[in-house]
Amino acid sequence: MESTLGQYLPVFALLVLAALFASLSFGASRLLAPRRPNDKKLAPYECGIIPAKDTPERFPVRFFLIAMIFIVFDIEIIFFYPYAIIHRGLGMFGLIALLIFTAAVFESFVYLVSNGALDWGPIKKARLLSPAVSAERTTTSTVRKVGLEGRYVPPTSPMPDAPEEAA
């Protein structure tokens, strides 16, 4: 059996070419571009203000759980591929084996979902409105609609030009 390493030769050649392209571009930029760094340019970008606090060091643990469940799914998917390739040869036996496997993986997924590990939104609090906010203040009572309806027109002043009169 001859080696199949040759099949990867073009991939390797493209890798070398891409790496060369990137490094040559960086080299060219180094030659062509000006270099006038100063403190302000080298400070982390903060939309112009002087950075007042350090970069955050801790993130929600949910990201970690995402990576965790991703490993599980990645492994499952990796098992799916060989199965997909020979599933017709394996027949019922293979299908049931796969179903058991999937059930176990799905179970862990459901456990994660049920614990809220994949919920990201702001927590909707089931609380009553505080009495300081009047119940009468609704969108219809506080927001004025665009147009003439509902607008206060002093009785003495002439009505603004109505569309039909203007014509």
Binding site: L5, R58, I71, I85
Partner: protein, 245 residues
């Protein structure tokens, strides 16, 4: 010939990566070296005609597991260079050394015990299929996996489930209550915070003094007030970042 060159280059990549993982001071650099090692391993698998395994090596190990490592490193704030002089668990280094040495001896013994010391011929059981019809052994691998080794395959699923449950249990904070922070930690934090505020105020005062020498006066009060405001806002923001999203 080509195989030998590929092997030599990959072996070098793998070894450099492996040494880098333990030698790098910054944990993120360690993770990068780990990726290098895994990548070298993938190419070695390819040169051994284990194409599917090579892909798995990159997709699962480099693509998922090291991502998890990096998340842990980056998200839990341990991405700073570590002080190697502190030993977090007493006796850890000594035990690690013993275990490492034992593993090494075991590896050497395994290699030396095989009939061909270089390739470990006796351990290899030959190709999975009778003949590799289309130079692609995914089929043979799949057949072995879903017939002879189907029990191991199912056991994997259970392992994965346990891993997920473990992760949730570790990460969960039940009934919205924070675990009590040890008093000691709080004091250290308080002291650290106070020290930072003082340092900043002193710095600003020094600046203001310098400015006053240049003829400008009266700005010292204002700027030191702004400084302490800044620092409180700073801490509030850090809290918010930890809690939401």
């Amino acid at each position: 010939m080509v195989e030998i060159i590929v092997f030599a280059v990959c072996a070098a990549i793998v070894l450099v990566g492996a040494v880098g993982v333990i030698a790098a001071r910054n944990p993120v650099h360690s993770a990068l070296f780990l990726i290098q090692t895994l990548f070298g391993m993938a190419v070695l698998f390819i040169s051994l005609e284990a194409h599917f395994l090579a892909a798995v090596q990159v997709v699962v190990y480099a693509g998922a597991i090291v991502i998890l490592f990096l998340f842990v490193i980056m998200l839990l704030g341990v991405d700073q260079a570590e002080d190697l002089n502190i030993e977090p668990i007493v006796g850890q280094r000594f035990i690690a050394f013993i275990v490492g040495a034992a593993t090494f001896v075991l590896m050497v013994a395994t290699l030396a015990g095989s009939s061909d010391a270089i390739t470990g011929q006796r351990q290899a059981t030959g190709p999975l299929g009778d003949e590799l019809t289309d130079n692609n052994n995914v089929r043979e691998l799949a057949e072995a996996l879903f017939t002879d080794y189907v029990f191991a395959f199912e056991a994997t699923a259970i392992l994965l489930t346990i891993a997920v449950v473990g992760a949730v249990v570790l990460a969960k904070r039940t009934s919205g209550e924070m675990l009590p922070v040890p008093q000691n930690t709080l004091e250290i934090r308080e002291a650290d915070y106070q020290a930072r505020v003082d340092a900043r105020a002193a710095e600003l005062e020094a600046n203001a003094a310098a400015a006053a020498e240049a003829g400008e006066d009266g700005s010292a009060e204002a700027s030191s007030a702004a400084a302490s405001d800044d620092d409180t806002a700073d801490d509030e923001m850090a809290d918010a970042e930890g809690g939401d999203a």
